[in-house]
Amino acid sequence: MKSSALGALGIAIFLALWEVVGRTGLAGISWPPLSDVLETLTDASRLPLFQRALSATLASTALGYAWGTTAGLALAALAHLLPPLRRGSDRLAAVLNSVPSIALGPIFLVLVSRESTPAAVSSIHVFFIVFVSVSAGLQRATPAHRDLFSVLGADRFRRFGRLELPAALPALVSGLRLAWPAALIGAIIGEWFGAPRGIGILIINAMQNFQIVLLWCAVLLAVGSSLFFYGLLTLLERAAYRRFG
């Protein structure tokens, strides 16, 4: 209990410092006080703007999250069931993860529509994290369990479905937790390439028009939604570890 009180104190000190720096103008006009930002954020006339942007970005993030998870799971399962493909799929995933997100934007702009580009960029980020964590998780079943399944006459597909996949679930959920902020980043970068609306568009517009408070609002929205889902997935992760860990 003492550590959580200290933690709350740490966050409170951080927020207070932010307000003080903004009020005194220590960091110049680019650092507005927290209270100003919150006021704009909760301003009724701005609410529709923020709502549209946030829902567009969250929709892209969720879609990219689903695509990326499916692709990551599929490649990890394929590499696990067909060992000769393993080294090549590791390398493919590592290289895909090394492609700069700003280069993915223009590629997906041609491959899919302008509206789907944010989701597609975000799916690449998610794909790598899910692939790596599931690949590691599939190795977690103990040799004794494997032998037991073999003795009882299970082929590798049945062993995969009944033993290895359940054993990989905690790793998958850990991966899913880490993948959410990455998915959000992908969606925001993807939006820079001509999406009609979203947090990424809001950030870029506010930056180019020097609307400082609006810029901070957009950043807070991104951070807040990221924290919310990250917390939710942390709860899910704990449940998964209790059941399958």
Binding site: A8, G28, R87, A94, V95, S98, P100, I203, M207
Partner: protein, 254 residues
């Protein structure tokens, strides 16, 4: 020495790189077959041709991106490790810092680039700041947990032999944290270059990200893709090299 055999060599290449080869072949044939405009989407061979034709343009920008990523990586890891040591010394600092780092590790850092640019200016210092931030979190988190996990019993031995808190840090906790720091290095190295590139893309002063933004705006798509290809290769090699370092450190210190 074994004789060089072509067949096993080719098999090995296919085994290691089938995914990447398939991707490149699919890309090339798709551009050719769908007759998509080469300004919109160049073929991999065209990109390769541009890389061979203008190595100077790429080298200049690679230099500045590498320099800023490397410097940022060093500073970020130093700050992260330093704060982890502070948290190791003082439970108060640990209590204050831990939730903040958890908070920040889930923050989409890319969203902070425009804010930092407003504070530091639209130049290389912002790129540096982004790299420092992105490498700081993994090093703090991994160094903290590493400092707290010395081999069982070793801490008692040090106490019995009358080691001071500083000795304990220097001779036990820090060496014990090295494998963890190496993991942080592996995670941070590949990301440092990619984060630098996104920041350069927005700042538009120098580097591979700047080259990408400029050439794309001028419809020199081949060069834009060339810049991305170079960044991909550097980032993937950084990941592999850091993985090699991590393995060596793990073997030596644990």
């Amino acid at each position: 020495m074994r004789p060089f055999l072509l067949r096993p060599f080719l098999l090995r290449i296919i085994e290691d790189y089938w995914g990447i080869l398939l991707l490149l072949i699919a890309w090339e044939s798709w551009v050719v077959l769908s007759r998509v405009n080469v300004i919109v989407m160049p073929t991999p061979t065209a990109v390769l041709g541009d890389l061979a034709a203008h190595p100077g343009v790429y080298l200049d920008n690679v230099g500045s991106t590498l320099l800023v990523s490397l410097f940022g990586l060093v500073v970020g890891m130093a700050v992260g490790t330093g704060l982890a040591v502070a948290a190791w010394f003082s439970p108060l600092a640990a209590g204050l810092l831990n939730p903040l780092t958890v908070l920040f590790s889930s923050v989409p850092v890319v969203a902070l680039i425009p804010v930092i640019a407003r504070l530091l200016g639209y130049d290389t210092s912002t790129v540096l700041a982004i790299v420092v931030i992105i490498t700081f979190f993994p090093s703090f988190v991994f160094a903290s947990s590493g400092l707290r996990q010395p081999p069982p019993g070793s801490e008692d031995l040090f106490r019995v032999l009358g080691a001071s808190r500083l000795d304990l840090l220097r001779r036990l906790a820090l060496p014990a944290a090295l494998p963890n720091l190496a993991i942080a290095f592996k995670l941070a190295a590949a990301h440092a270059i990619l984060a630098a590139m996104v920041a350069e893309f927005l700042m538009g002063t120098s580097g591979l990200g700047y080259l990408f933004a400029k050439t794309k705006a001028d419809f020199q798509t081949e060069q834009a893709f060339g810049a991305s290809a170079v960044a991909t290769i550097i980032s993937a090699s950084a990941f592999l090299a850091a993985g090699w370092v991590e393995k060596r450190v793990r073997e030596r210190y644990s």
